[in-house]
C-alpha cells in the first residue's frame, strides 16, 4: 500500500505521449481501476476544452460544465471524486453551486478545488468555509494543480496513456 506522504510515486508523471488514443485507453481500462472522475466547471469554452485535454492526458476522466445549473445537474446524476469549480459563472457563482450540492448531500465523496481570476481575501475566506476545499488563483501552473490533486488522492491509480 502506498504511503500517504509518498505522493510523487503514487501517480505517474503527466504524459506527453501523443500517440495515446481512445483505443489504447480502453485497452488499459481493463487492467486498472476506473479513472478518477473529475467535474470541470468553467464557463470559458476554450479554457474548459484545454483543461479537459490536460486532464485526459493525465489519465483522469473529465466532464465539463459551462454553467452552474448544468454542474448541479451533473452532480446530482453522477458521483465525481473531484470538482474544479470556477467561482465566476454566467448564471450563478461556484460557491452557490457547491453550497447547493452540499445541502443535497451530493458531494459526500467529492473534493473541491475552487479557482478564480480575482482571488480576493473575501473569496479565499469564503472558500475556506467549505470543509476540505482548496482555492487556486488563476492563472495556475498545471504542474502545481496536478501536485495538489496528487496530494488529495495519494493512492489513486491513473491511466498511463
Amino acid at each position: 500500500m502506498n504511503s500517504k506522504n509518498n505522493t510523487q510515486t503514487c501517480l505517474p508523471p503527466p504524459s506527453t505521449d501523443l500517440a495515446c488514443n481512445s483505443a489504447d485507453a480502453k485497452e488499459s481500462k481493463a487492467a486498472i481501476p476506473p479513472m478518477l472522475q473529475v467535474l470541470l466547471l468553467e464557463d470559458n469554452v476554450e479554457l474548459a476544452e484545454l483543461l479537459r485535454l490536460m486532464f485526459e492526458m493525465w489519465g483522469f476522466q473529465p466532464t465539463v460544465a459551462h454553467l452552474g445549473r448544468d454542474a448541479s445537474r451533473l452532480l446530482e446524476e453522477q458521483e465525481f471524486r473531484l470538482a474544479l469549480v470556477d467561482i465566476d459563472l454566467p448564471d450563478t457563482t461556484g460557491f452557490e453551486v457547491v453550497a447547493g450540492a452540499l445541502a443535497q448531500g451530493w458531494l459526500q465523496n467529492t473534493k473541491i478545488i475552487f479557482f478564480s481570476g480575482e482571488p480576493s481575501d473575501d473569496r479565499v475566506a469564503m472558500a475556506r468555509q467549505f470543509p476540505g476545499s482548496l482555492f487556486v488563483p488563476k492563472p495556475f501552473e498545471m504542474q502545481n494543480l496536478l501536485g495538489l490533486i496528487q496530494k488529495l488522492f495519494p493512492n489513486e491509480p491513473t491511466c498511463e496513456c
Binding site: 506527453t16 481512445s22 469554452v45 492526458m57 459551462h66 481570476g117 488563476k138 492563472p139
Partner: protein, 240 residues
C-alpha cells in the same frame, strides 16, 4: 504561387522536422509549415488590430506578409533557437511590419498583387469578440488558442464528411462544446433515427476523436516534449 495547401500529408511534427533539416530543408516540411501559417493567419490580424492598426491596413499587412512568406524563403537559417512555431510566426510578422512601415511611401505589396483567399470579415469579428487583453501579444496568444480549437473542429468536420458522417457530425457538434447544456441527446437521436444510447456513444466517440485531433494539432506546432508546456501556455492565454 507554387505552394500547395493539401492536408493529405503531414510529418509528425512539422517544427521538429524543420529544425532537424538544417540547411537542407525538407520541401514537405516547408510546405506543411506554409500551410500552418495559412491556417493560423487570423491571430496575426488580431495582433495588428490590437496594436492600433486600422482594419484596411491590417489586411494589407497580413496579406503582404503571406505573399512574402510564401514567395521568399523565410525558413532559411531556421534552427531550434527560433523556438515554437507560434512565436516564430509572430516574430516574422513583426519584422515584416517594421519593414512595411519603412517603405510606407512606396506602393504596398498587398496593393497590386494577387490576393490570398482570406476571410477578413470573420477575422475582424474574432478581433471584436475576443475578450480584451492588455497587450497585442496577449491578444495574439488568445486568438491563437481560439483559432487552434476552431481549426480542430473544422478538421473533424472534414474528416467526418469524408467518411460519409457529415450529418452525424452536424447533429452532434453542439455536444462537443457542452456536455449537457442546451443539448438533448433524445432530440438528436430522433433526428438521427438512432437510439438515445447509441447517440450518446456516438457523441462520446466524436469527443474522443476531437481530443485526439487537438493533441495532434498541438503537436504540429511544438516538439513532443513541449506539449504540456504548450497547453499550459494556451491556458494562460485566457487569463489576465
Amino acid at each position: 504561387m507554387t505552394t500547395s495547401f493539401s492536408r493529405d500529408y503531414f510529418p509528425t511534427t512539422h517544427w521538429s522536422v524543420i529544425n532537424n533539416a538544417g540547411n537542407s530543408q525538407s520541401l514537405l516540411a516547408e510546405s506543411a509549415l506554409n500551410e500552418l501559417c495559412f491556417r493560423y493567419w487570423e491571430p496575426l490580424y488580431v495582433f495588428a488590430r490590437h496594436g492600433g492598426t486600422a482594419h484596411a491596413n491590417a489586411e494589407d499587412l497580413v496579406q503582404s506578409f503571406f505573399l512574402d512568406f510564401l514567395e521568399e524563403n523565410y525558413l532559411q537559417g531556421l534552427d531550434s533557437k527560433n523556438g515554437r512555431f507560434r512565436a516564430f510566426l509572430l516574430e516574422c510578422f513583426k519584422n515584416h511590419s517594421r519593414n512595411e512601415w519603412k517603405r510606407a511611401g512606396r506602393q504596398k505589396r498587398g496593393g497590386g498583387a494577387d490576393h490570398l483567399p482570406l476571410d477578413w470579415a470573420t477575422a475582424d469579428e474574432k478581433f471584436q469578440s475576443l475578450m480584451a487583453a492588455e497587450t497585442p501579444e496577449k491578444m495574439y496568444d488568445r486568438a491563437w488558442a481560439v483559432t487552434l480549437l476552431e481549426q480542430v473542429l473544422e478538421l473533424l468536420g472534414e474528416e467526418m464528411q469524408a467518411k460519409g458522417k457529415g450529418e452525424l457530425f452536424e447533429e452532434l457538434k453542439p455536444s462537443l462544446m457542452v456536455d449537457r447544456a442546451d443539448f438533448s441527446y433524445g432530440d438528436a437521436a430522433n433526428r438521427l433515427k438512432l437510439s438515445e444510447e447509441a447517440t450518446r456513444q456516438a457523441a462520446k466517440r466524436l469527443r474522443e476523436y476531437y481530443q485526439k485531433l487537438l493533441r495532434q494539432e498541438i503537436l504540429k506546432t511544438c516538439d513532443p516534449a513541449e506539449v504540456e508546456q504548450e497547453i499550459q501556455f494556451l491556458l494562460n492565454a485566457f487569463s489576465d
